[in-house]
């Protein structure tokens, strides 16, 4: 008995946490899957109703609008973050003395919550008293900036604030990648006569493939889950012009008493994340196995 206990102690120790994960992650996800196939409105009902909720979801113009916004947001957010992050990391890699200080500045938004970020940018982008007034005062009297209340532009204000918050993170990832490169490779390239520009373009960036991969996956992940920032900055508005799937889901779940529909949208979000994460984890783990 004692022997059995000792042999199985590691398993016993891990089992409470494991049970919690199984129940609260996998069990709950399955529950959500199931409820998305029921007629649940304000309260969950457990009779199977088929895929009607999913039909309702995909014929709902508000959902389409949210998905479209997500696409616009994701593409811009990922591209701009990558661009800024890569440029900053390369510039910071030039052995400058103030590097630590600058890095701290570039990354601090990451420590703030999306609500704080949203509140700050909501004020900065204020259509009359914010940026517009600043530039008017500086002499650009024609300048108008009303994106926050403009149905066609409101989604881009979310991109602006999100890029401000997350681009430093990409910089940190790439800087860590650049630092892990064997110094001798850069030396060899210098002796081979490559300019700094072509060293980065033809030698170093191609070596950064894993960093590209993880950056993109993380940024995608952030953007699919983006909820707080939208709520704080535009609350999905004006109207539903800056709505996103995560906002749609909570709206349906907690305000519209559409639990079935909310679950269907959550299932869609879950499947999207799954489609991104599973191949990524697979390749990551394989790469690590190959390295070890």
């Amino acid at each position: 008995m004692l022997y059995w206990l000792q042999r199985n102690l590691p398993k016993i120790v891990i089992s409470p946490s494991f049970a919690v994960i199984i129940w609260f992650v996998y069990g709950f996800v399955l529950w959500t899957f199931y409820v998305s196939f029921t007629k649940s409105k304000m309260l969950p009902r457990y009779e199977f109703w088929g895929i009607d909720q999913h039909f309702r979801l995909w014929s709902n113009p508000r959902w389409f609008n949210a998905v479209e916004n997500l696409l616009i947001f994701t593409i811009l957010f990922v591209l701009v973050c990558l661009l800024i992050g890569i440029i900053l990391s390369i510039l910071l890699d030039q052995k400058i003395r103030t590097e630590g200080f600058l890095r701290t500045i570039y990354l601090y938004p990451m420590a703030l919550s999306f609500i704080v970020t949203g509140t700050a940018w909501k004020w900065i982008l204020n259509p009359t008293m914010g940026l517009e007034k600043l530039l008017n005062d500086w002499g650009f009297t024609e300048f108008t900036f009303d994106w926050l209340v403009n149905r066609d532009m409101s989604i881009y204000t979310i991109v602006i604030a999100a890029v401000w918050q997350s681009s430093g993170f990409v910089m940190a990832l790439f800087l860590a990648g650049l630092r892990s490169i064997d110094d001798e490779i850069v030396k060899a390239a210098k002796i081979d006569g490559a300019s700094l520009y072509s060293i980065y373009l033809t030698i170093i960036l191609p070596m950064m493939r894993p960093v590209f991969m993880s950056s993109i996956v993380i940024l995608l992940h952030i953007s699919i889950k983006s909820y707080d920032l939208v709520v704080a900055l535009t609350a999905g508005g004006p109207g539903i012009s800056s709505d996103m799937p995560a906002v749609f889901m909570t709206q349906m779940a907690f305000h519209r008493s559409e639990i079935g529909l909310a679950s269907a949208s959550a299932v869609m979000m879950f499947l999207t994340v799954l489609a991104i994460i599973v191949p990524y984890l697979y390749s990551e783990l394989r790469r690590q196995d190959a390295n070890s």
Partner: protein, 301 residues
């Protein structure tokens, strides 16, 4: 075979020295512009919070306050006195957040360490699969568990309470803490555990006497990561609590939304800044560990 051409070399030298200085300047200018871009919102936040509404209406984002007034900070923190619907202030919610963060961070970190230890130093059949199942928990979009969680909290009788939020954050923090500790312990040589076993130490003795004393670096990383995430959380807070039990981020958002007749941007900014202070402080004091958490939480596995 080439030989060195002295004249040509002298020209190259001179022009490359000039070029180097030019590029150096360009580098600092670009880096400086980016620094301003990142700092500007913080700057705007602070100076706005120190102005009166009168000044805000007259000046613009960048104009400095004529005199520094902390009135809006006081209003944001402890309200204006008087009880009316629009009078939301942060003090009680700040304590709510603290009461939520401390136990959630402590419990999830402890179990993360234990799990990481059991998964790496006492390999058993299926341990990798168990780890993968944990790992995936880092990625799920929380919308997929929001509804059942809300029902469970109701069932347990802890919906709309701090304990409910502690439970939620502990549960969904476990994946991250386990990942952090697992990745740290895997780099510690197994020989250390073997030596301790031969010396007669058992499972828990090895954990507490051998591993915990050398876990400081990863514990700091994990605590900071958990603290930042839980403090900054809005989704769980807004879904599972309202009114008096809400954490600070929810209160901040309510405050900004529910200001009554006149928008008080100075109070909003002061409130936003107050809500951001704890995580900013942690970042400034332990930035190295914060970054390590970010990169460890990203390059996963």
């Amino acid at each position: 075979m080439q030989t060195l051409d002295f004249q040509k070399m002298e020209n190259i030298e001179r022009s490359s020295a000039r070029k180097r200085i030019f590029y150096r300047w360009l580098l600092f200018i670009i880096l400086g512009i980016f620094a301003l871009y990142y700092l500007a919102p913080l700057y705007v936040m602070i100076i706005t919070s120190l102005k009166t509404m009168e000044e805000i209406r007259q000046g613009n984002l960048m104009t400095l306050p004529r005199e520094i007034i902390f009135d809006s900070w006081i209003t944001a923190w402890s309200g204006r006195g008087g009880i009316d619907a629009g009078n939301v202030f942060l003090r009680p919610f700040f304590w709510n957040s603290l009461k939520m963060v401390v136990p959630a961070v402590a419990i999830s970190t402890f179990f993360g360490a234990l799990n990481g230890y059991a998964l790496t130093k006492w390999r058993f059949k299926g341990d990798n699969i168990i780890f993968l199942l944990f790992l995936f928990g880092c990625f799920i979009p929380y919308q997929a568990i929001l509804l059942p969680m809300s029902r469970t909290l109701g069932f347990l009788g802890i919906s709309n309470s701090i304990s409910g939020l502690v439970l939620v954050h502990t549960v969904y923090g476990l994946s991250f803490t386990t990942l952090f500790f697992r990745n740290y312990y895997i780099s510690i040589p197994d020989e250390m555990i073997k030596a301790a076993r031969i010396d007669g130490a058992g499972f828990f003795k090895i954990f507490f006497k051998v591993l915990i004393p050398i876990s400081a670096p990863i514990a700091v990383v994990t605590v900071i990561w958990q603290f930042t995430n839980i403090w900054n959380d809005f989704l769980f807070g807004s879904s599972f609590s309202f009114g008096e039990a809400a954490p600070i981020q929810v209160a901040l958002n309510n405050m900004v939304l529910t200001s009554t007749s006149v928008k008080e941007y100075n109070v909003d900014m002061a409130a936003a800044f107050i809500a951001g202070i704890p995580t900013l402080l942690v970042y400034i004091l332990a930035g190295k560990y914060f970054i390590r958490g970010l990169t460890a939480g990203s390059v996963k596995g």
